[in-house]
Structure formats: structure tokens, C-alpha cells
């Protein structure tokens, strides 16, 4: 789980390492608009899965409220994203980063499903904070500066604002479940 988070963080910061030889077609900022849209859609759905798991396992009202908000907000963003892609006449395009995110989420779900009570709540809260931090960094530093379509860019900026609020909310949840 931590490895996956670190992989994602590495993908985000790799391009910043000036002169390094890691910048290639497999770098996040080299993805095209529809590939970035696929990553964002995948990231939304992953967090929705985590939230459903939390609602199935946790009895903590703070955790359950947060999970419901994640389902509500990420579903709303995905709905907007799909509407925009439909309007533009394009489909989201699968890519290495979407697959990496999905693989990482499977490990986290395996871990979370084995936890109960306070242990689950703490782990869910910590992961939500780490996940939002990582994805927000990706969107802010690698995606938004490189998106070509103005409407797609506007939607990503709106999404980033939402997910930064989630990050703050996750910080509050982490403190609440300690």
C-alpha cells in the first residue's frame, strides 16, 4: 500500500528532477487530455470503492459521513467529466498510470478488508489523506499545466479545488479517529 503511494508520488515528482532520464512517454505530464481524463475518472472510482468499503465495515459516524461525501462528490465530478467528454466527442483512454493506480488500490482494499473497528478507521483515514495528497499533487503539478483543451482544463481545476477540500476534510478525520 505504502509502496503504491510512493510509486504515485514518484511519478508526480519525477519530471521535476531536472536532467533525469525518466522523462519519457510514460511520464504523467506526457499523457494527452483523454488519458488524463481516464486517470482522473479511475482515481474517482477508486475512492468511491474505498468509501463503499468504509460504509460496509465502519461504525464510526465521522468515517461514515466522510465516506458518503466521497461517494457523492466523486460521482458528481465523474458525471461532469463524462458529460464533457461526450460533448467533445471523445472517450477516456486507458494508460499506464490508470493501471498503476488500479493495481495499487487492489492492495489497499485487500489490506482494509482485513481490518475492523478502530484499526480500520485509522487506516482508512490515513489512506484517504495520503491518496488525496498524491492525486492532488499529480493533478496540480503534472496534469493541469499540460492540458490542452480549455474546457477539460477548467474541469480539472474545479476538481482540484474539490479534492483539496477533501484533503483538508481527511486531515480532520485522521485527527478524529486517533
Amino acid at each position: 500500500m505504502k509502496i503504491r503511494t510512493m510509486l504515485l508520488a514518484a511519478a508526480v515528482v519525477a519530471p521535476v528532477a531536472a536532467g533525469c532520464d525518466t522523462v519519457n512517454a510514460a511520464s504523467p505530464e506526457d499523457l494527452n487530455d483523454v488519458e488524463m481524463a481516464h486517470v482522473a475518472y479511475t482515481a474517482d472510482n477508486i475512492d468511491i470503492r474505498y468509501a463503499h468499503l468504509a460504509l460496509a465495515i465502519s461504525a464510526n459516524p465521522t468515517v461514515r459521513d466522510f465516506a458518503r461525501t466521497m461517494i457523492r462528490d466523486h460521482s458528481a465530478v465523474n458525471e461532469q467529466a463524462l458529460a464533457l467528454l461526450q460533448k467533445l466527442g471523445v472517450d477516456p483512454q486507458d494508460n499506464f498510470l490508470s493501471r498503476d493506480l488500479l493495481a495499487g488500490s487492489e492492495e489497499i482494499i485487500d489490506e482494509l478488508t482485513q481490518l475492523r473497528g478502530d484499526a480500520f478507521d485509522r487506516r482508512y483515514a490515513e489512506n484517504e489523506l495520503a491518496y488525496h495528497r498524491a492525486v492532488n499533487g499529480l493533478v496540480e503539478n503534472a496534469f493541469i499545466p499540460n492540458i490542452e483543451n480549455a474546457e477539460v482544463k477548467t474541469l480539472f481545476e474545479a476538481g482540484l479545488n474539490i479534492f483539496k477540500n477533501h484533503e483538508k476534510h481527511a486531515e480532520m478525520m485522521v485527527e478524529a479517529v486517533q
Binding site: D65, D73, A158, N165, K168
Partner: protein, 128 residues
């Protein structure tokens, strides 16, 4: 002619007295007309209530318009009133009740879905 003229002045004075008296009577008998209720609009933009603080009076309406993609609420911190969910692009209106008659709307409020979003309604008496 002169007399008529005097009578005309007296009649004018009488009419004026009647008007003043009628006005005074109306003032005594007719309750003060209530101040017109105001319609307040609070927009929810980028996870913030705009404006953050609003002064309202009993009888006023407050409309929250959600300009964000995601749903929000305006929920009293003390739990006494709640717009419930306002979908992205939607609006909800509540009427401010009189605190003297059990009206509860006012005070600090927040978004139940996003607790870092906070604002305040201050209820003051209706001006007479």
C-alpha cells in the same frame, strides 16, 4: 363677498383639520405597516458561502444557490435548521422565523458534507 371669502378660509381650515385628525386617527387605529421582507441570496462558490456573514430579519427569505459541481448543505451548527442537500446548480430557500415566536433560523452554520465550510446568519428585529 368678503364674508364669502372668510367662509372660504374657514372651510379650508376645517378641511385641513379634518385631514390631520383623520391621519392621527388612522395612525392610532391602524397598526404600523410591517417593513417589507427582504430576499437574501447566498451563493456557494468554490466551497465557500458568499457572503460569509448576512444580517436578516424575521419574514425575510434566504436563498442558497449552489454554483459548485458537488452537493452542499447549509446546516445550523446547533442543529435547529437545515436546507438539506442542495445539488450542484440547484437552490433552496428558507424563511426566517421570528425568534420571539419560536423561530430558530440564525446563528453559525456549515456544510454538513464539507465541515470546513462555515458562515453565519445574524437575526435582528424587524424595524418599525
Amino acid at each position: 363677498m368678503n364674508r364669502l371669502a372668510v367662509s372660504g378660509k374657514a372651510a379650508t381650515r376645517a378641511v385641513a383639520v379634518c385631514i390631520v385628525a383623520a391621519g392621527a386617527l388612522l395612525t392610532m387605529l391602524w397598526p404600523a405597516a410591517p417593513a417589507l421582507a427582504a430576499d437574501h441570496v447566498i451563493e456557494i462558490v468554490d466551497f465557500a458561502f458568499v457572503p460569509t456573514d448576512r444580517i436578516v430579519r424575521p419574514g425575510d427569505t434566504v436563498t442558497w444557490i449552489n454554483r459548485d459541481i458537488v452537493p452542499h448543505t447549509a446546516t445550523a451548527q446547533d442543529g435547529l435548521w437545515d436546507t438539506r442537500e442542495i445539488a450542484g446548480g440547484a437552490r433552496t430557500t428558507l424563511v426566517v422565523g421570528d425568534p420571539a415566536e419560536g423561530g430558530t433560523m440564525g446563528g453559525a452554520y456549515y456544510c454538513h458534507f464539507h465541515p470546513s465550510m462555515t458562515a453565519r446568519l445574524t437575526v435582528v428585529p424587524v424595524e418599525e
